[in-house]
C-alpha cells in the first residue's frame, strides 16, 4: 500500500479518524440523551449491561469528565485530520502543522492533568464520604507512558517547527 494518493495508508487513516470522530459525537449524544436520565431517574433504564453505573452523586461529574474527554479527543482528531489534509495534498511541511501539533500536545497535557485531578478528587471524596460512594474507584495514578509520549511530541513539534521555517525560507530563496 502506498503512502500518499488514492487508496493510500494516509487516506485510510484519515477516513478512520473521520469515523472515530462521528462515533465520539454519537457516544456523547447518547450519554446525554439516555444515560443521564437513566441514572437520575432511578431504574428508568437498566444500563448495568453497558457499564457499572457510578453513585448518583457522581453522575454529573462523570458526565462532565466524559464530555471533556470527547471534546479533547475531537480537538486532537480535527487537528490530525488537518495535518492529514496537507499530507494528502503532498505538502505537509507548513508552519500551520507545527501549530496543530502544539495544540495536540497541549490538549493531551490539559486532559491528563484534569484526569489526574478528577481521580485524586474521587479518592479524597471516597475517604471523606466512605459508604455513600461505595461504587467509586478513586486512585492517584501517573500515566508515565502518556507523559513520555507528550515529551516526545513536544520535541518533535519543535523540530517540525524549525523544519517548516527552513522550508519556508528555502521556498523564498531566489
Amino acid at each position: 500500500m502506498k503512502a500518499l494518493g488514492k487508496n493510500s495508508i494516509t487516506v485510510a487513516i484519515d477516513a478512520g479518524l473521520g469515523v472515530l470522530s462521528w462515533a465520539l459525537w454519537i457516544a456523547l449524544a447518547l450519554l446525554f440523551l439516555f444515560g443521564i436520565p437513566a441514572l437520575i431517574v432511578d431504574q428508568f433504564y437498566d444500563l448495568s449491561w453497558v457499564a457499572k453505573a457510578p453513585p448518583p452523586a457522581l453522575v454529573w461529574p462523570f458526565a462532565i469528565m466524559f464530555a471533556i474527554f470527547v471534546l479533547a479527543a475531537q480537538t486532537v482528531i480535527s487537528r490530525l485530520r488537518k495535518i492529514f489534509t496537507t499530507l494528502i495534498a503532498g505538502d505537509p511541511f507548513v508552519p500551520e502543522n507545527a501549530v496543530h501539533m502544539r495544540t495536540i500536545w497541549i490538549v493531551l497535557v490539559v486532559f491528563e492533568v484534569l484526569n489526574m485531578g478528577f481521580s485524586s478528587g474521587a479518592l479524597m471524596a471516597q475517604k471523606w464520604f466512605g459508604g455513600a460512594l461505595a461504587g467509586l474507584k478513586g486512585e492517584f495514578h501517573i500515566n508515565w507512558s502518556l507523559w513520555m509520549a507528550v515529551i516526545v511530541l513536544i520535541v518533535l513539534t519543535e523540530i517540525f517547527r524549525e523544519g517548516a521555517k527552513l522550508r519556508q525560507e528555502q521556498k523564498l530563496t531566489i
Binding site: Q168, E169, L172, T173, I174
Partner: protein, 76 residues
C-alpha cells in the same frame, strides 16, 4: 527586513521590463516578483550574478540596507 531590493528602480533606469529580465536571467516571473516586492528571504549568488550581468550593474545597486522602524525606535 532591513535589506531592501531596488530591482524596480534599476529596471526603470535600464528601460527593461520584468518579463524581459525573466527571459534573460532564466528565473520564473513568480520568483522575480517575490524578489522585486521584497518578500524574498535570500538570494543565491548565482541569481545575483545573472541579474548583475543582464542589468550591467553591481550587487550594491540591487540591494540596499535600511534600518527597520523598530530598530530606529530602539536606538532612540
Amino acid at each position: 527586513m532591513a535589506i531592501r531590493v531596488t530591482l524596480d528602480r534599476v529596471l526603470l533606469d535600464r528601460h527593461m521590463s520584468l518579463t524581459e529580465l525573466c527571459d534573460r536571467v532564466g528565473v520564473t516571473m513568480a520568483n522575480l516578483s517575490i524578489l522585486k516586492t521584497g518578500k524574498a528571504k535570500a538570494v543565491r549568488f548565482s541569481t545575483l550574478e545573472a541579474l548583475c550581468r543582464e542589468l550591467k550593474c553591481q550587487p550594491g545597486e540591487l540591494l540596499m540596507f535600511e534600518e527597520d522602524i523598530e530598530e530606529k525606535d530602539a536606538a532612540e
